[in-house]
Subunit: 447 residues, 2 copies
């Protein structure tokens, strides 16, 4: 082959050039979520070389994904590229790749772009939606687990309104303007509240000729109440607030299947809706199933009290992916659990390196909270319980200070102030090509 270009200069193998401390033990961290990113940053202070792997080149502030889905925030306000976060840690390198499996015996991570050997491994690949075997719903419902899914949800919502503006058939239009949220946990509650406010306060300006009163947000929950982990008073407050905002909350209602026509409920009945959002369950990421290790409930990897995999003291699993237990029950899938797990796992790697005995993981519950649209939230911090506007202010402050990156904080603050005072949303772009926002084939295709 003739190459008219100057030959590239000869260089040492590139991978070696990326590892300034090639003689030190190699620690691989899988996942740049709350747990994995915290682990990589802490490992940066130890005498090890670290490789952090994620399929995205950014860390996502997942608690605010619902704001992206409801056009309140833009992706870059809740996502931050990983490389600048790790810039000052000379012994940490980052790789974008999909981790497909781990060969525990060979101590090797298998990725879409090659294999890497490790001396220590921290598994922090997070979670995925759990559809509990409801295949038709898995195929037809939207999720809210990452930025791409959040943009898909936003495109669908706005696309349904655009399509409804063309639609003369009242039944079809009704289905286009019906949004069902399955699951009454924090994600479902926060998303339903924000969507109701988008429809009530923002979209009427954009669609002045449309009767938006026929648009419905229906929250379907299988048990007898919302926000299961919260105290009864807060659960009740959330239910009342959400209903007062106009969300049609249906308790004790389980779903069965979904097709182009409707969402069918267990025990009969159906809801004609072009959009079904699934927030009813999570399970450990697929990677947990690809590893030859025992798993517990929700597919989470079983771990020793020290967060090590049984029989593999060099492998730690943290966060949503691991089933760390407290008083015989799995710890919840929360950012706090992942962050504290990272702290424990890295401390134990340091102890292992220096030959000290490892310490068991102790989770300190710093509190839980959830917003219900504008001005309202529930928060439970130790013995203290807050509702309404005060809880919302607490939620707002905590989320802004914990967002990574100063510029993100400034932009998010400007956006939220704007939304609050103007009752508007910043920008409502349908991105991703001409068909990105196409709703599924409308129900009632033939009369």
């Amino acid at each position: 082959m003739v190459d008219s270009e100057a030959a590239p200069p000869e260089q040492p193998a590139h991978m070696a050039a990326q590892v300034p401390h090639a003689d030190l033990p190699h620690v691989i961290v899988v996942g740049a979520g709350f747990g994995g990113l915290a682990a990589a940053r802490r490992l940066g202070r130890l005498p090890v070389q670290v490789t952090l792997i994620d399929r995205h080149n950014y860390h996502t502030f997942t608690p605010l994904l619902y704001q992206v889905a409801t056009a309140g925030l833009e992706p870059e306000e809740i996502a931050h590229p990983v490389r600048p976060i790790l810039r000052d840690l000379r012994n940490v390198r980052f790789r974008v790749a999909e981790v497909s499996s781990v060969d525990l015996a060979a101590r090797r991570v298998l990725t879409s772009d090659g294999e890497l050997d490790y001396e220590y491994l921290v598994l922090a690949a997070g979670s995925a939606s759990n559809f509990f075997g409801l295949h038709s719903i898995e195929a037809g419902a939207l999720g809210l687990k990452d930025v791409d899914q959040a943009l898909t949800v936003r495109n669908r919502i706005l696309g349904c309104f655009e399509a409804a503006a063309w639609e003369a058939d009242a039944t079809r239009r009704h289905a286009l303007l019906t949004f069902v949220v399955v699951g009454g946990g924090p994600t479902g509650v926060e998303f339903a509240g924000a969507l109701r406010e988008l429809i009530d306060h923002v979209l009427p300006h954009d669609f002045p000729g449309m009767d938006l009163s026929e648009s419905r947000v229906i929250l379907v929950e299988a048990t007898d109440g919302l926000l299961a982990p919260f105290a009864p008073r807060l659960r009740n407050s959330a239910l009342q607030t959400l209903r007062a905002k106009g969300v049609d909350v249906r308790l004790n209602t389980a779903v069965d299947r979904l097709d182009g026509e409707a969402l069918y409920l267990k025990g009969g009945g159906q809801i004609e809706a072009a959009t079904v959002m699934w927030a009813a369950g999570v399970r450990a990421a697929d990677l947990a199933q690809a590893i030859a290790a025992p798993r517990g409930r929700s597919g989470r990897l079983l771990v020793e009290p020290t967060l090590q995999l049984p029989g593999h003291p060099e492998v730690f699993a943290i966060g949503d992916m691991a089933g760390a237990e407290e008083n015989g029950a799995q710890l919840p899938m929360l950012a706090q659990v992942a962050l504290q797990g990272a702290e424990c796992a890295v401390a134990n790697i340091a102890r292992s390196l220096s030959g000290q005995p490892l310490l068991p993981f102790r989770y300190r519950n710093k509190g839980i909270m959830a917003t219900i649209g504008r001005n309202a939230a529930v928060a439970q911090i130790g013995p203290f319980k807050f509702t309404g506007f005060l809880a919302w202010l607490i939620w707002l402050g905590l989320h802004i200070v914990t967002l990574i990156g100063f510029r993100n904080r400034v932009f998010v603050l400007i956006n939220w102030m704007w939304n609050y005072f103007s009752y508007d949303r910043a920008v409502r772009l349908i991105l991703g090509g001409a068909n990105a926002a196409d709703p599924p084939a409308p129900p009632h295709e033939s009369p």
Copy 2:
């Protein structure tokens, strides 16, 4: 079919509800770019009912697409949803749809979502990349004509650096880090300059172990100079500035074909590159070819001096889509031509409504400018010619004040100030799924 839901309330036909002045003449505007949006806003003051149609729900400030492609700006900073722009115009409605054709005889627009009849039609669908029959390049090169393409370019650039970080083979890595820009017009020059600065000033912080000096930005131009419409002194200044910034500018170099291995040049020679960006030609949008009307150079619709289609006085064509002439030459594809064309077309519709004679289009050249990265630009405004930092300040000010939307202006200004003083870029997210940034199959698959 059993419907357990309350039947939707009976309503008047929805389309009618969207047209508050159904007795007035119906004007359809195709395209919400500079020309179409300006036409719709001006038509909002006439005694007509207006339907504006675009395949996106947003207007794009296309002169800054290259900034999105090089991670300097985010999509929502240069794109603005159409509906809020039209909010106060009660006789203008907006529809998201792809216009596939126009039945001139029946006075009917055919779209992906139905048909609409008109009394007047303004065609402003803009332009698309012109590959001049180079099919392999059309299939393999990236474009920069809309926000989605700009995001694809950004994903590709960042993805190539992520892939290069894994790549031990020097020849493959060299190809991953080689970016070819075809075409030395304003788009090619601005993109190449911004890309070189991204690589030289921002990415070294993200890839501390990588030798970025082997990364090349090559600008290939078939003629003997850059920026053909500018005065010789400015063209020369642009060439020198771009080369001083490190762009490898190759004049008198035409391209022939592209495969997974390389970009092959006319007359022999080739460049191994994973990324080829096409900025060498534009033509009228596909819609122009779907209309039974005569076309001129670049597929642009021929128009009378009044901007009417020959034989169809009720149809006006403006902007990139129309070949309005001045002194026997087609007017350039510039935002100014589209904006002034909209003004003329709407004035002529008003004259037609009141039975007055129509006026011919007179283009007033307000000047042209192009940036060459940070701190440098060329600008030609009437008899005045500017280069360097002064031209760049003029460019900056003009682009900020003409961006639609107050908030966009504030955010863009913050972003630019940040970039200027920190030599950093805001956010470098690879969005759009795990494979969004995958470069094409690397060249030299077998040694």
